[in-house]
């Protein structure tokens, strides 16, 4: 195995929206390398559909404070309000920046950026849905990803495509650690690359592939959080995982909330618009946690459709066909492709699908990674996007706020890191920093084990979808925890078929499975401890929110022996006091 050494000021790991937005800030300011295990344009930002909220007020009255209120309330009061204020205020400039970068937004008749309704976004603190989401048909994420990539090309950003990061490097020990680089595996050759750098920003996306029914790409395996978890960095709020209400039945492929923003309606097997009962004011545009639970309840009450009574309908049949073609072209194509039905004529079978991690690598509003409940910063280490937890989404993210998060905090993280690297010396990394990774690879290739990666992953996904998704109980979480712990033991004894050097995805999938197992472990342990229901974390055995005991962030620590230890961190309060969450 060949080893190559590189020296940079800054390394960005991941080239989705957050990584690319950070890279744009770093370009020209610091010697920067952007590492991605894919090609940048393959990143899952490209799958986001509906839009990006910002109180531009292009089509109706709106203020960023209203957006902040909706985000706080949508997150069931677990979000940090200082960060939420920043995100909603900077949203406006973030959208304008993207337009200046060339993003082809859909336009109003006056030629301004058009805006539409989205779940949980309201005028004047909950009065009625508001048109806040800036969009480009139903491929806003695709356009953001491509626009940011285009901008990076114009700025001659230095990409290392198909380089997968397996380890993070530090200088110093314990509390005196500072970031010093990463060890990456080059897919095309199987060589290892040691990137020594003053700053490292992780922007690796989510980990939705721990669930069976998931809107996530196969490659969303929590690589950044997984690597840092193992390196002693705690993970924040892992138990808060969002299930999007409208995944294509059987596939989990996302059908944007924009479908309901444009007037789509959810119906049960009786044809009843059941969201009218659950959220009388905003109805189908209630936040995702509430809608997913409502669907779950309909199915449980026997009002699910289909041979197994296990789905409900998303009904677009009453919308004008030309509106569907111009505003929702891609998602209606997905329905035709995967279900073979025409959404203009027939309602679409849907089920909740694992979608988004509210939790992740704890950071402050500058993207700096924090390592304890005192918000202690680990110098030089940054994270942004879905892999990070600022926390702006609290216990439940509002639709469109993920695209906003990646551009606002990708930019802030990149800017902060560009400043940081100007003021510190080059870290000292001893020769052989790649030894641990090399050993792991050799061990996997030499492995005489018997366990198959695919089987362990399938069991994990089935268990997590069954026992740790929309509705949880102590019993279900006990089952999930037992399964995950057994699978971790089996994982120690895996074997891979491919012993080659070139494009060994058998090997990278094995590494990725390790991340999924650790993060799933943190998720179920945190969820079991949290004896309340808040946002996306619903406990049938504790069906109310308990602010007195639980208005706090979980920090999960992965111990040397593989067990999970929990500690807690205060929520940053602000203008909006907790109240009952009704829509």
């Amino acid at each position: 195995m060949n080893v190559h050494y590189h020296s940079y000021d800054a390394v960005v790991v991941g080239a989705g929206g957050a990584g690319l937005r950070a890279a744009i800030e770093l370009a020209g300011e610091a010697r920067t390398a952007v590492l991605t295990k894919l090609y940048p344009t393959r990143s899952h930002t490209g799958a986001a559909q509906g839009g990006m909220c910002a109180a531009l007020a292009n089509v109706e009255e709106d203020y960023w404070e209203w957006h902040a209120f909706d985000t706080v309330k949508g997150g069931d009061y677990l979000g940090d309000q200082d960060a939420i204020d920043i995100m909603c205020r900077e949203a406006i400039d973030a959208v304008i920046d993207l337009e200046h970068f060339g993003l082809p937004f859909s336009r109003t008749p006056q030629g301004r950026i058009d805006q539409r309704r989205f779940g949980g976004h309201t005028r004047n603190h909950g009065e009625a849905p508001v048109r806040r989401s800036c969009y480009a048909a139903d491929r806003t994420g695709h356009m953001i990803l491509h626009t940011l990539y285009q901008r990076c090309l114009a700025k001659e950003v230095n990409f290392f495509n198909e380089f997968q990061v397996f380890d993070v490097l530090f200088e110093g020990e314990g509390a005196n650690r500072r970031a010093a680089g990463v060890v990456a595996y080059e897919m095309a050759t199987g060589d290892l690359h040691v990137f020594v750098s003053k700053g490292v920003l992780f922007a690796t996306g989510g980990y939705g592939k721990m669930f069976k029914i998931s809107s996530n790409a196969h490659t969303l395996t929590g690589d950044g959080p997984g690597v840092l978890f193992k390196a002693g960095i705690p993970m924040e709020d892992l138990e808060f995982y969002q299930f999007h209400p409208t995944g294509i039945y059987g596939f989990g492929i996302l059908l944007s909330e924009a479908a309901r923003g444009e007037g789509g309606i959810l119906r049960n097997s009786d044809g009843e618009r059941f969201m009218e009962r659950v959220a009388p004011t905003v109805k189908d545009l209630a936040p995702r946690d509430m809608v997913s639970r409502a669907i779950h309840a309909e199915i449980k009450a026997g009002r699910g459709a289909g041979p197994k009574s296990d789905y409900v309908y998303l009904d677009l049949t009453h919308l004008p066909p030309e509106q569907i073609d111009s505003k929702l072209p891609d998602i209606t194509d997905f329905v035709r492709t995967y279900l073979g039905i025409e959404p203009k004529k027939d309602p679409i079978p849907i089920q909740p699908t694992a979608h988004y991690a509210m939790g992740g690598i704890p950071t402050n509003v500058e993207g700096e990674v924090i390592v304890d409940d005192q918000n202690t910063v680990l110098p030089g280490l940054y994270a942004a996007g879905e892999c990070a937890c600022v926390s702006v989404h609290g216990a439940n993210r509002l639709g469109t706020n993920s695209l906003l998060d990646i551009v606002v905090f990708g930019r802030r993280g990149g800017k902060a890191m560009a400043e940081y690297v100007k003021n510190v010396g080059h870290p000292d990394v001893p020769k052989g920093a790649e030894a641990k990774v090399r050993e792991r690879i050799e061990q996997l290739k030499a492995g005489t084990g018997s366990e198959k990666v695919g089987e362990i992953r399938t069991t994990l996904q089935e268990s997590m979808t069954l026992d740790a998704s929309v509705v949880r109980t102590n019993e279900s979480l006990t089952d999930a925890r037992k399964t995950v712990e057994e699978l971790k033991a089996q994982y120690a004894n895996i074997k891979i078929d491919d012993k080659g050097e070139v494009f060994n995805y058998d090997l990278t999938e094995a590494m990725e499975l390790g991340h999924l197992l650790d993060l799933a472990h943190g998720l179920v342990v945190g969820a079991q401890a949290r004896t309340e229901s808040r946002g996306a974390h619903w406990r049938d055995d504790y069906p109310t929110r308990n602010d007195q005991n639980w208005m706090k962030h979980t920090l999960a620590h992965l111990e040397q022996d593989g067990s999970i230890r929990l500690s807690y961190k205060q929520v940053v309060a602000g203008n909006y006091q907790p109240m009952e969450r009704k829509y």
Binding site: H100, R107, P109, M143, G306, T337, G340, G500, V502, Y505
Partner: protein, 250 residues
């Protein structure tokens, strides 16, 4: 909703019985093979599943060395372009029940095969970069958005859909014969900016595309348009770029 008595059931019902799928895959391992060879596999799966699911079944249950790129699994990331039964397709948007249970799968053509279905994408992305695929605007819009009419926005809507999967470029007979040709995908990327009312770089791009390796290599075979999984009218975009050069008018 109009139907309540007989609600539509998804035709890709996953509960339907399984079918046997026969795969014939072109394999190549640079460590051991001097040239590619065919290998056959059988898997059982639901007819509503994707070709990509068939490849995963092989990889995860029979032969972990089978190598292919993939990510999103629903046709938006552009990773899994391959030749399926003779045509360039994305493995993740083609269902077994539509394409049949006999599958012949090869890497896309015109780019060097590295391993199994993985080809060297670098030349493709280099060609994409060569057309300056980013907004070039000399005005200073200040802190406001630039205005753009819906008609101006529609002018290049089709070419914004491109996911850089290379299905078009690697279906082009001109590209197979001459890899210097910039190829349909790069022209699509250029078109997206040339016809954007906010962009000032049209002339530079047209000059690039007027070179020997540019648009006039295209002989209008329409392979690219047929291959595009996003339904982009690729040949039409190329024709529009040709006309812009010929008549010096965007």
């Amino acid at each position: 909703m109009t139907v309540t008595e007989s609600p539509a059931t998804p035709k890709a019902d996953k509960t339907k019985e399984l079918v046997r799928v026969h795969l014939r895959i072109k394999r190549y391992d640079p460590a051991t093979d001097t040239r590619p060879h065919w290998q056959e596999f059988e898997v059982e799966m639901s007819p509503g599943d994707r070709v990509l699911d068939a490849l995963h079944l092989v990889k995860w249950t029979q032969d972990g060395t089978l190598t292919f790129r993939r990510s999103c699994a629903h046709g938006v990331c552009g990773s899994d372009a391959m030749v399926i039964n003779g045509e360039n397709k994305l493995a993740c948007i083609n269902l077994i029940k539509n394409i049949g249970t006999d599958l012949t799968i090869e890497p896309i053509r015109g780019l060097e095969v590295i391993k199994d279905l993985v080809v060297d994408m670098e030349p493709f992305f280099a060609q994409h970069r060569s057309v300056m695929p980013y907004l070039i605007a000399h005005d200073d819009p200040g802190y406001k958005e630039r205005l753009q009419t819906q008609e101006d926005r529609d002018r290049f809507d089709d070419t914004t859909k491109c996911i850089l999967c290379a299905c078009c470029t690697t279906s082009c007979p001109i590209y197979w014969a001459n890899s210097e040709y910039v190829g349909p995908a790069a022209i699509v990327s250029a078109h997206r900016f040339i016809f954007d009312s906010r962009d000032d770089g049209a002339q530079e791009r047209l000059d690039i595309l007027n070179q020997k390796s540019g648009v006039f290599r295209c002989k209008t075979s329409f392979n690219c348009t047929e291959a595009c999984p996003r339904g982009i009218k690729v040949t039409q975009a190329i024709e529009e770029v040709k006309r812009a050069i010929l008549y010096d008018r965007v």
